[in-house]
């Protein structure tokens, strides 16, 4: 049996014919398996949705009660039989509830990893290595220049800046699902105990994380706070809000942005960022290549991002590799602009 007989890449996502389902489809389908709650992977309007409880909850938060015809929650590691295929979900370390999906059919095992990272994150379970024959990997940061280094060092940098500029507000752009909460949790474990403020667009997911037992300390809405009281504080907002009219309410803000893109200086300058923080929820180049090697896969399919470089790396390391052209992944970050005008 060839891998293509189990999973077919189509422009709207990966389709499993023997199992009768799609993984992270970008168009409405009858049965969808969803890796995680980011809007480019988890869309509304499918017939039946199978995902972790957290991912289903997040979809409900974002799209409302009727986001799918029916839903089924799956535990990490629990094996299900869907028609001719066996599937299971395994932690991907990307955001709360994120999963890689293992699909097995007649002894051939494919892992669709969705988005993943192989470094510690206090807000979700660590990435689990699932040995496989074919590994489907993202390539958001699939260039050797993306080295995320130590996120803890970046948090320390932010806290030093807060200390040095106590009369200014530190406005930190962060994606509303996952990054925002991870930042808050990391600030807490670095000993920052002052209240942290958030933009309204960050509220729902943050409260949900807290409800799931993740300790984020005191997190308050910016709305209602006095301008002068925000000096010396950290405010978390969606990236688009940093350059929006909304940002004018803060005292002389230091514009920070927590993202893997901040590794490249031109990117940071283009966004007018004063304090770039290289903190990413995606694996960096070293993480991608180490993970691919560790899965033992002999074939690699590369989705959204910098496919060329990663395909080249696989091939020079003796692995069969091809890019998958799936339209619409990788847009969560660019479109994650709420509250104010959309401007990426």
């Amino acid at each position: 049996m060839r891998p293509e007989d189990i999973l077919v890449p189509t422009p709207s996502g990966v389709c499993c014919k023997p199992g009768g389902f799609h993984i992270d489809p970008t168009r409405p389908v009858d049965r969808a398996l969803i890796t995680h709650g980011h809007s480019d992977h988890a869309r509304a309007g499918h017939g039946a949705v199978l995902a972790t409880q957290e991912t289903l909850d997040i979809m409900r938060l974002r799209y409302g009660e009727n986001f799918a015809g029916s839903t089924q929650a799956v535990e990490y590691g629990q094996e299900l039989k869907l028609d001719g295929a066996r599937v299971s979900f395994h932690p991907a370390g990307h955001v709360l509830g994120s999963a890689q999906i293992r699909v097995e059919c007649k002894g051939l095992r494919i892992v669709a990893s969705g988005d993943y990272k192989d470094v510690a994150d206090p807000t979700c379970l660590p990435f689990e290595l699932v040995p496989c024959d074919v590994f489907i990997t993202e390539a958001t940061f699939g260039l050797p220049v993306f080295r995320h280094h130590d996120a803890g060092g970046e948090i320390a940098k932010l806290l030093r800046s807060v200390e040095l500029f106590p009369e200014r507000a530190h406005l930190v752009g962060a994606y509303t699902l996952g990054k925002a909460q991870r930042l808050i949790a990391m600030l807490r474990s670095a000993g920052h105990s002052k209240p942290i403020y958030m933009h309204g667009a960050v509220e729902a997911t943050t409260r949900y994380y807290q409800k799931r037992g993740i300790d984020l300390g005191q997190v308050d809405l910016v709305r209602g706070a006095n301008k002068a009281d925000l000096a010396g504080h950290i405010i978390i907002c969606p990236p688009g809000a940093m350059s929006d009219l909304w940002s004018r309410r803060f005292p002389d803000p230091v514009v920070c942005f927590a993202s893997g893109w901040m590794r490249v200086r031109a990117r940071a300058r283009q966004r007018g960022v004063t304090l770039p923080l290289v903190i990413s929820d995606h694996a960096d180049w070293d993480g991608l290549t180490a993970t691919i090697a560790a899965t033992g896969a002999s074939e690699v399919w590369v989705t959204h991002g910098q496919e060329d470089a990663l395909v080249h790396w696989c091939q020079t390391n003796g692995l069969k590799a091809q890019p998958l052209d799936i339209v619409g992944y990788g847009d969560e970050e660019e479109s994650d602009v709420t509250g104010g005008e959309a401007e990426a």
Binding site: S161, L164, M242, R263, R265, G272, T274, W313
Partner: protein
Amino acid sequence: MNRFAELLDRLAYEPGRNAKLRLIADYLRSTPDPERGWALAALTGALTFKHAKAGIIRGLIAERTDPTLFALSYDYVGDLSETIALMWPAGTKQRMNSAPTLSEVVETLATLGKAQLPAQIARWLDGLDETGRWALLKLVTGGLRIGVSARLAKTAAASLGGKEADEVEILWPGLAPPYLDLFAWLEERAEKPSSRDPAPFHPPMLAHAAEEADLVTFDATEFMAEWKWDGIRVQAVAGRDENDDLIARLYSRTGEEISKSFPDLLQALRFPAAMDGELLIRREGRVESFNVLQQRLNRKSVTSKLLAEFPAHLRAYDLLAEGENDLRGHPFIERRARLEKLVGKLNDPRIDLSPLVPFETWEELTAARADPASGGAGADAHAVEGIMLKRRDAPYLPGRPKGPWWKWKRDPMLIDAVLMYAQRGHGKRSSYYSDYTFGVWSKGESGDELVPVGKAYFGFTDEELIQIDRFVRRNTIDRFGPVREVAHEPERGLVLEVAFEGLQRSSRHKSGIAMRFPRINRLRWDKPPAEADRLETLENMLERRERATV
């Protein structure tokens, strides 16, 4: 080195002057000697080792990375040092602990042979993180461009001891990296380093801007007037050292030594004295425009061709010291008399006296300002940018005291242009569209069209900024990253009255013309874009200028 790298990284992104000062001061305060001294030397451009060529670091990365991956990466990042810094194969934790100090890097580079350079750089890169590697590569290739002037770095250092930058500036020529004596004094652990410099810098006296309305409140008999020259303000100082040799130096108005760039002028300073004056280019007895001076400035190497083509000239207007005598406490009229004598004694074609503008009433001075050619400036009139007014009895006071000196600039040139593109600013202005590209009408292939002629990002009030920002947001027709294209049609758009100081031809601009010092003078909400100026108007202004220069 990692702390220094972090400082450079912060400075490279930080637009605010005060924030930069705070970052540098914080670094200097919390970093031990001699590390901070070498950092101060790096920031003030006082490091003198031979720089590594780009070829060396390109060779190092080629040995360590796949050529296809390097090409893809370089293409994406766009900067060689940055690409290499990021791609450099990661060190193990143990190697990370062997990060070199800045002192080690600077001291090693001072003595290292060319052949050992590549291997040494590679060892250092192995020990550093991404930011550290970036800073190291910028340092060794001499490309440390982070928007910090030597003056700013010295100001930050001075703040450690609550001192003014000028005080450090005066000591500076007598100091050497890593500045242990300077820091000891600033931290009150030692006496002030003595300035043994025979040709020290004197912090300059600056003028306030005057308007016509201010003048009537002054008594004309208490003032003397000079032309305000469109060159660069310099201080020419000469003095004898302990061996009785004459040491001559040229300083910019911020105290940076620029002697190396002007050897031709330096040799004319043959008597111990400190003169305040304007650096100009003078050919065949005439002063050239600032455009010509610019061709002499900022050149890396001063060739004999450059010296011959653009001879430097000092037009002196004040005398701060003569021999051992500090004259700054004396009234201007007395300093001026001594200056006249000194310039006569020097008798050098490269140094002359800035003439006084004779006047008895403000009306006479107003007329001279309006027409410098007939007011006494003659053939040099095109290099006049206004009038300087100085009280006869005023001593020379460093800084910008209010009252004794006034600058009364000529009226700027004005045009009405149409706002075409707006870009968000930085720092405090990062949520405002505050950088404006404007254009004037020109005949295109299909009728009249607007061609961009310049960019301006100041001149408006805070209230006007809010108005323009609102206009931009409501009239956006296209977006390119941080830039918005704004409606600019004959009947729809915003007309800006733009003031500027001069024009020059430029092949880099589509219009073929570049403006000097453009700023937004007024918002013309009343004027439809169709009535804005045409490119021909600018061309006529430029031609008139060029005719006057020939």
